[in-house]
């Protein structure tokens, strides 16, 4: 009796061993980098962690197919290395000694990737399922691009500065005109320093009076 039991167990174990080996059908390789993710807070990978892993995979399968038949014992791990890396398969308890198709496992893992990562305090990069690509999360895009806001602020400041300068320039110009007309009126009453009938200030302000006959062709200097 005992011998028969042992024989059956060894056959089952043999088959199970056949199910889980590197590059087996429906088997996936997992690579874990705990020290990279956690540094000093890294935990050691031991049998308990393996148990948690099996539990998480079983959980993922249950959530995905909602069949509630996957047990922890259905998840087989093998070839655990120091790296830490190993292969796993999920067996189907309803059908004898077969594995759940890889596509189902992949879909289940994908759906629950976040939960699995968080159970181990790892991320997509440090807990790698080598054949399962992860959907990358899109970057957060605010409704108005930030640069447009900054640009608006800068432009407003500049326009304000320009307007201020132009207005102050116009005001200064008006004040200068008013002052010069006042001064001219004042001087006409007093004594105007004249030179050839032109007040001296005008000579300074205007471009100088050039007698057109003598300054032909702007040649004010002796040519070469």
């Amino acid at each position: 009796m005992l011998r028969a039991l042992l024989l059956i167990l060894s056959v089952v174990a043999f088959f199970f061993a056949e199910l889980c080996k590197p590059d087996a059908q429906n088997a996936f390789k997992v690579r874990i980098s705990i020290k990279t993710a956690l540094g000093d807070n890294a935990y050691a990978w031991d049998a308990n962690e393996e148990y948690l892993f099996k539990a998480m995979v079983a959980f993922a399968m249950r959530r995905y197919s909602s069949k509630s038949t996957t047990q922890i014992s259905n998840v087989l791990l093998c070839n655990v290395t120091d790296r830490v890396s190993f292969w796993f398969v999920v067996t189907d308890s309803s059908k004898n000694v077969t594995t759940v198709p890889g596509s189902e496992v992949e879909a289940a893992i994908r759906m629950n990737r976040n939960r699995i990562n968080n159970a181990f305090l790892l991320s997509d990069k440090t807990l790698q399922f080598l054949k399962i690509t992860s959907t990358l999360s899109p970057p957060v895009e605010p409704s108005t691009p930030v640069w447009l806001i900054v640009f608006g602020v800068v432009l407003c400041l500049i326009v304000a500065g320009i307007v201020f300068l132009i207005v102050s320039g116009i005001q200064k110009h008006k004040k200068k005109n008013k002052e010069s007309t006042e001064r001219e009126n004042l001087e006409e009453k007093v004594e105007v320093t004249l030179e050839n009938g032109i007040p001296c200030e005008a000579l300074d302000l205007k471009a100088g009076h050039i007698n057109g006959v003598f300054a032909a062709d702007d040649e004010r200097f002796t040519s070469l």
Partner: protein
């Protein structure tokens, strides 16, 4: 035109608030983007510390004399470039017109470079920085292909900023974000130059001093980064063998020349607002030395940061190899570290050579990463932005860096705009009653509209063309004619008397020798060497083409004939002004001498009132 008392004190010409403002404006004009992104690059490729030898020789015999000449000229004649050269001799009026044209061409494209700086600046307020991550592709399974194959910084520069076309001929469309930034930049320039030196004089206090502050901050930060010492040692280790290459001497001479912003007419304009009794000799020496010291000072943080970047890239390369080896051999994590990498590799190679060969490990060499030299926009927008991403607190560093670049460029723009503005003001294009604000507004508006061409997809190729052809050969020609004109046509005896009157002491023998012989000779040699080097091969450029087989390497292309014609036009147009104007006056003189009724009279007019 005799020296003494014809120039009245109060002639209504604007003047500097104080001497410091004037010196700061000249320094701001001379110190520009080239001090940060061209000088360190030249130092690196031309044998590090050894490059300083030809650099200082060129400074002594070419830079300082020409600078002194321009400042003395402007200060004495109290006119912008066109008016000043017309005063020296009507036949040399073309020199003024030529430098005025170069100032216009350079203002157009220089402000577009500032546009790019502004675009990066306003994008630095985001977390994460937009050039640090690649965007996802359409179905979110991976990254955008163009970005993935090159790097995120390259993608942001070539695609998100420039939206560059693969060829100069393909213009692409106007990039609306660049148009917005261009409008802002021209608005800033208008704001600062609205009333000529009245407003630039105030703005220069900020734009000229701020870069030094930021450079110091970057210096302190840069020296604390890992790998900074490697970068600095690499930069400054002198390799005296490079001095045997004439290319090095040529690069030193051209670098000094363009770095001091000579022959733009801006320095003449700045000096013309000075009181005449001012020591222009001391000013020239001060400005030139400060400019060179700034170049040296700027190269220290630049190379610390580049050394840091190279070290980080080297470590990344090592780490990637280590991960590959660990994964392949299923070794425990952290069994191979950077220090024992080489011993592990040799051990594994002897035991499992096929496996190692199958991994196709990249050879990581720190020297190779340090050798990747970049200058110009590549340094600022690709290399530096990548290094900034690696620093903690990247946003702050990015903001500081781009404000610094913007101030450097803006203070140089003031000089360029002054070189355009002052002669126009003197030529009285607009009536005297109209305000100065109108003229500066018109200049800025027209420049903005023309510069819209640079916001096309092919805009950066055109800016390269302008930089290479409009801002190189014409300046050498104009400077040559400046020296010859003053020394041999105006006559050095007269000029030295004028300078003596201004500075109050006799002109040093050094100036006599350099102005008469050394500087013109040097300029002639540099010009001929420069032109010969340009003519040796057909003008080509490198294009960013995602469809190229060697992508992400850039594709070498040759300019089509019509573009080459434009290059020649850009280089020749300012130069050709010089003989054209001389010819025009010659013909006018001949016509008048043929007509006997027109006797050229002696005229005594209030020359001072018209300045």
């Amino acid at each position: 035109l005799s020296a003494t008392s014809e120039i009245p004190k109060e002639d209504g010409r604007p003047k500097w608030d104080n001497k410091f403002q004037y010196i700061l404006s000249c320094i701001g004009f001379a110190v520009g983007l080239g001090n940060v992104w061209r000088f360190p690059y030249l130092c690196q490729i031309h044998g590090g510390g050894a490059f300083l030898i030809p650099y200082f020789i060129a400074l002594l015999f070419e830079g300082i004399p020409l600078l002194h000449l321009e400042l003395a000229l402007g200060q004495y004649l109290r006119k912008g470039s066109i008016g000043a050269w017309n005063t020296i001799s009507p036949y040399l009026g073309g020199v003024g017109v030529g430098s005025w044209m170069v100032s216009i061409l350079v203002s157009l494209y220089y402000n577009t470079v500032l546009t790019w700086v502004m675009w990066y600046f306003i994008n630095s307020f985001q977390e994460p920085l937009p050039w640090s991550v690649c965007p996802l592709n359409k179905n979110r399974t991976g990254f955008n292909e163009e970005c993935y194959e090159s790097t995120a910084v390259n993608y942001f520069w070539y695609r998100k900023t420039l939206n560059i076309t693969p060829d100069t001929v393909e213009s692409g469309t106007l990039q609306w974000w660049l148009i917005l930034c261009l409008a802002t930049c021209w608005a800033i320039v208008y704001l600062c130059t609205i009333r000529g030196i009245e407003t630039t004089g105030k703005a220069i206090y900020v734009t000229a001093i701020f870069p030094y502050l930021v450079l110091t901050i970057f210096l302190i930060q840069g020296l604390t980064l890992p790998g900074a010492t490697e970068g600095l040692i690499y930069l400054f280790t002198p390799n005296l063998n490079t001095l045997k290459n004439p290319r090095v001497w040529l690069d030193a001479a051209t670098q000094i020349f363009f770095s001091l912003s000579l022959a733009f007419g801006g320095l003449i304009a700045f000096a013309s607002y000075n009181p005449t009794k001012n020591d222009c000799e001391k000013d020239a020496v001060t400005v030139a030395i400060v400019n060179s010291m700034t170049s040296l000072y700027a190269s220290i943080p630049v190379f610390s940061v580049l050394g840091f970047k190279a070290t980080t890239a080297y470590w990344d390369c090592l780490d990637r190899n280590i991960i590959n080896v660990i994964n392949e051999f299923d070794l425990p994590e952290e069994s191979i570290m950077r220090q024992n990498y080489t011993s592990w590799i040799s051990f594994l190679n002897s035991s499992y050579p096929e496996k190692i060969a199958g991994l196709k490990l990249k050879s990581c060499d720190l020297q190779e990463f340090l050798d990747q030299s970049v200058s110009g926009t590549g340094l600022a927008f690709i290399a530096f932005t990548q290094a900034i991403v690696l620093m903690p607190g990247s946003q702050a560093w990015a903001i500081l860096f781009f404000i610094m670049l913007f101030s450097l460029g803006l203070s140089s723009m003031f000089g360029n705009i002054e070189g355009v503005f002052t002669p126009l003001l003197e030529l009285q294009i607009i009536p005297k009653s109209a305000p100065k604000e109108l003229l500066s507004g018109i200049i800025c508006l027209i420049s903005f509209l023309i510069a819209l061409c640079f916001t096309l997809g092919s805009g950066s190729y055109w800016i390269d063309i302008f930089d290479r052809y409009a801002a190189s050969v014409p300046l050498l020609v104009i400077a040559f004619f400046e020296v010859i004109g003053v020394v041999y046509i105006y006559k050095i005896k007269r000029f030295s008397k004028d300078v003596e009157w201004m500075t109050g002491r006799k002109l040093n023998l050094f100036w006599h020798i350099t102005w008469r012989f050394i500087s013109p000779l040097l300029l002639l040699i540099v010009f001929m060497a420069f032109v010969t080097l340009q003519m040796q091969k057909p003008p080509s450029y490198t294009a960013w083409n995602p469809k190229y087989e060697g992508f992400p390497m850039k594709e070498e292309k040759v300019y089509p004939p019509w573009v080459q014609a434009i290059c020649v036009l850009l280089a020749a147009l300012p130069c050709v002004c010089v003989p054209l104007v001389a010819l025009f006056h010659l013909v006018k003189q001949k016509c008048r001498s043929k007509n006997p009724s027109f006797v050229p009279p002696e005229v005594f007019s209030c020359e001072g009132a018209s300045s």
